[in-house]
Symmetry: C3
Subunit: 437 residues, 3 copies
Amino acid sequence: MSTEEIAALQAELEAQLASQRATIDELWLVVSAINILGLQLGFAMLETGVARAKNTKSILLKNLADMSLGVFVWLVIGFGLYVGDGRFVSGAPHDGFMLLNDEDYALFAQSYGFAITGTTIMSGAVLSRMKFEWYILISCIFVGLVYPVSAHWAWAENGFLSVDFDYKDYAGSGVVHMIGGVYGLVGAWVCGPRVGRFVQQGFDTKSVPRPLPGHSSTLQVMGVFLLTVSWMFFNAGSSGGTNPEQMRSASRALAASMIALSTSCGVVIIIMYIKDRTHHLAEACNAVLAGLVAITGPCGHVDPWGAAVIGAGAGVVYLCVSHVMLHRLHIDDPVDAFAVHGACGAFGVIMLGILDYQDGLVYAGSLDLLYGQFVGFICLFMWALITALILFVSLNRIFGISLDEDDQLLGLDVKYHEGYAYPEFSAQDVMEYNRTR
Amino acid sequence: MSTEEIAALQAELEAQLASQRATIDELWLVVSAINILGLQLGFAMLETGVARAKNTKSILLKNLADMSLGVFVWLVIGFGLYVGDGRFVSGAPHDGFMLLNDEDYALFAQSYGFAITGTTIMSGAVLSRMKFEWYILISCIFVGLVYPVSAHWAWAENGFLSVDFDYKDYAGSGVVHMIGGVYGLVGAWVCGPRVGRFVQQGFDTKSVPRPLPGHSSTLQVMGVFLLTVSWMFFNAGSSGGTNPEQMRSASRALAASMIALSTSCGVVIIIMYIKDRTHHLAEACNAVLAGLVAITGPCGHVDPWGAAVIGAGAGVVYLCVSHVMLHRLHIDDPVDAFAVHGACGAFGVIMLGILDYQDGLVYAGSLDLLYGQFVGFICLFMWALITALILFVSLNRIFGISLDEDDQLLGLDVKYHEGYAYPEFSAQDVMEYNRTR
Amino acid sequence: MSTEEIAALQAELEAQLASQRATIDELWLVVSAINILGLQLGFAMLETGVARAKNTKSILLKNLADMSLGVFVWLVIGFGLYVGDGRFVSGAPHDGFMLLNDEDYALFAQSYGFAITGTTIMSGAVLSRMKFEWYILISCIFVGLVYPVSAHWAWAENGFLSVDFDYKDYAGSGVVHMIGGVYGLVGAWVCGPRVGRFVQQGFDTKSVPRPLPGHSSTLQVMGVFLLTVSWMFFNAGSSGGTNPEQMRSASRALAASMIALSTSCGVVIIIMYIKDRTHHLAEACNAVLAGLVAITGPCGHVDPWGAAVIGAGAGVVYLCVSHVMLHRLHIDDPVDAFAVHGACGAFGVIMLGILDYQDGLVYAGSLDLLYGQFVGFICLFMWALITALILFVSLNRIFGISLDEDDQLLGLDVKYHEGYAYPEFSAQDVMEYNRTR
């Protein structure tokens, strides 16, 4: 056998190995892309459970419609803006815009799961008082224009945050959750509190929040469990491939995610018990999510003990921000979308600069990564805040996006969606009760 | 090192590569087989939500029992009929009938998920008015005899549709959904409408349908989301392996499925809004499923834009067929099983002949594929229709498979399953209400 | 090309192949680890559905908190005890205790899913009458100390059951389910029956059980479906790798699991119909789980027909043990945790000794394996029983872990968790009803 023949065979085998690796990469992308879609169910159940029964169909339709319609928007414009080699956005027209290249199919599906997660986060903050059409419009703009830009900055080949500032965000504490949370904040502020959420008290007419319990704790917790499972695919699936190093980082992301939700939940249960001597279910639910949000960015880059610290911190951040939102700013955010996704997302972005197991402040003794993370945080936060303010405020001024008090009392389902979601369990007295709070 | 030694080493490496590929194939089959089982939960929740609360346990038990018992039927007879190298069915007795060959285990599990999906589709069409025993009997016959034949025609090595007519059906628009939908049609027709579904109106005693809202929109939407996720494994998992080409077709199937559900849902929301100036949740749910059904067959063979067209068309087909069923034929199909699975399944089979990105009419300018698809549609449709008519009509004549009016008013749960599914929420007035409609 | 160069290239290719194999192993571990977490949702829904509505939040919080907090306990102590090379437990201090080794990340995540399953099984048996703090304490001790020891015995490199007795337990009929079931038994016995579960009848004041139907059959069945899907990953994912033989055993495990749940469900439906002439949903649900529990240990080691026998046997075992527990021992186990997980787990362990397709009594004609299985059963059972008795009895004597009658009647949610889970559906008469039974 001649040297050339041997070399040719070698090359052939190496090509096969590489092709097999590419196959496994694609398999992993497909499996995680599909499972990430499960987040949509999780959010839908969580939000429905937190809301009053009279708004159930409205919430479900919003979540179903944004998931469905979002795919088309992502196909037509969003995906094209996200990929491509521009500095700030897309760059020259390319195949991504028409999804002409079959190499992009798996990435299209997976990245869509990320895009739609951001808008779904917002939907919880505005639930039961925003009109369907405007929600869908803002959701489509988010998926088509807002998210692709932020994802491009951080994750595209030449995105300025990743290239110029070495900004790291494994699965999107900043890119996905923080900007979704900021949209939630602005949405909740523009739509105003739900009727009956605050009562005027005392001579100085101080606004005091009143509890508005949702109609099903079971749905809320079901949502959290569903989110937990899908989220693991969200985080581990962001390994970008399956070579040994990438696969190891996927395992790291998985372990870190589990640890962070654990410490976050533990810290919140303990704090709430010390404060109230009782066990709060809703806060425990949000704590799990807060830990997951904060670890989403760092998950592939931190040690188990770093993950434990980030989770514990996220629990505290969530409780503090939620308290400030409700008691100081008097913003009614029914699912704590900003406290959980916005604030803990930002927290995760910053903490990665400190606890990255290679370049973090604690490990490398250098501020370089922390600086990049801080720049990333500022850029992404401001991008989200400014676009959200423009969108929500202008639409509200011009068209009025929120429901008036009477419609809120009646409930969106009867007003817009042909009747109650649970017609057999809405006896006359329940309907009366609906009208009175 | 001698030439022989080198050649031996090469051969060894190539064998290892092939074995690794086979491993990945089996892994993909196992992962998708497991996730496809999730469809059962999705259908169960969807059907339960669409029905009255008084029939909840009946529906749940039907879905649990058909999934469970079906495995045994598939083991004893169905799988053996499906595989094998006969032209029209199985052929000579072979190992498949006893599952003697451990190479078949993964395929057994995955193909079972397909078989049971067909029968579950039917269960929605006959809900709340068919007796448990007869439903289980027909379900077992479907899994053991009806489905295996149709699957053999289209997918077995020597199946006449695939060999003689080049019939294509990636994941079963025709093989699975259409025949399930036809069984639903016949079942709904034989069982008759639910009590109170149609009222006689006017001098000419025209039958006018009355809405019978289900007891939980939340369960209905939960079902749709669960189905969406599992369906992606259904479609992408039909790649038949993981070599680069197959894996690419899995990605294509995934992207196409997402796009089709999107355009279908969008089209239906817009049409319904134009028609009624309101946003219908139930129709949006069915639209998502209609898009998925229609793309199930073409998903691995069409471009993104072809998928968008098929999805949009499926939305229209669903609305039209559902209207005709209810208002012209006066058949009460509570979950629109025929409109969604039967009609859109047929639509997908035909559209693949037009939009296949290699051989479709639009791309190749040839009618060959369309002809094969049409033959496949006719054969599968007639096979399902004829066997369904024989089964349902003869059983109904001889034994009576549907419930009488009093039992329907009382509800199946109290009649057959030891009481209500939600005993704490069935106050006296609710029970009264049950009896009166 | 010199011989050395060729040899070097060969070695390089082989190393790449091995690395690729390792990658696929890790991928399979990650995918199954994530999906196994879905069991937590399944158990939570099942238990919630079986309980009265007034205890909903209590059950949900227990399940959410044990999943969350358990991760930290597993990180700090449990995982370290489980791995390591000691005979009876852990051995010398090693990296596992601090999860210092990034090779352990995926295994950490997957094995955690097993650990937490055991404790979740117990939670169903004590539902609605055990105080939150003590439940969490026992759960943490179980995850941190009890389970790791039993898992070490059976699965660690030098565990004495596996090394000295060739004990086999593919996915843990004995190691996971049986010990969880035993904890459930002891917990249910120590906590006593729910108020109203038994009534005194006749002169000899015989205790007669009264049905206490749960508040939602839908949640119960949803739990069973969710468990079924996740369980397949639990079983198939225990292949320990993806070389051709291991992957084949994963397929075998999947097919066997499906077959066992089928025959178990079939047998129970038939027996119950013969006995009562009615179709019981709750028993069918438990039958599916009983079949899955019994096959969990044997699943990778039996033929399809062995799986069918084990499943059918498990159905009978479940019915008998459940009957004895309720009617003879008067122990109130609301979810039949012992009958399903304890008894059928033990049954699976023993049956593997008989039906193992290589070494089982029926195939090999030797009692060796059966002897090992019997020793394993005794050791694991006694370990669980003794530790459970010490824990539950001593805690109950010293602190009192169960709720008094008034609090049970009021419901845990109002007492400890700030109000009802479904506040809109708890009309005054429902609240009254709560107080009276």
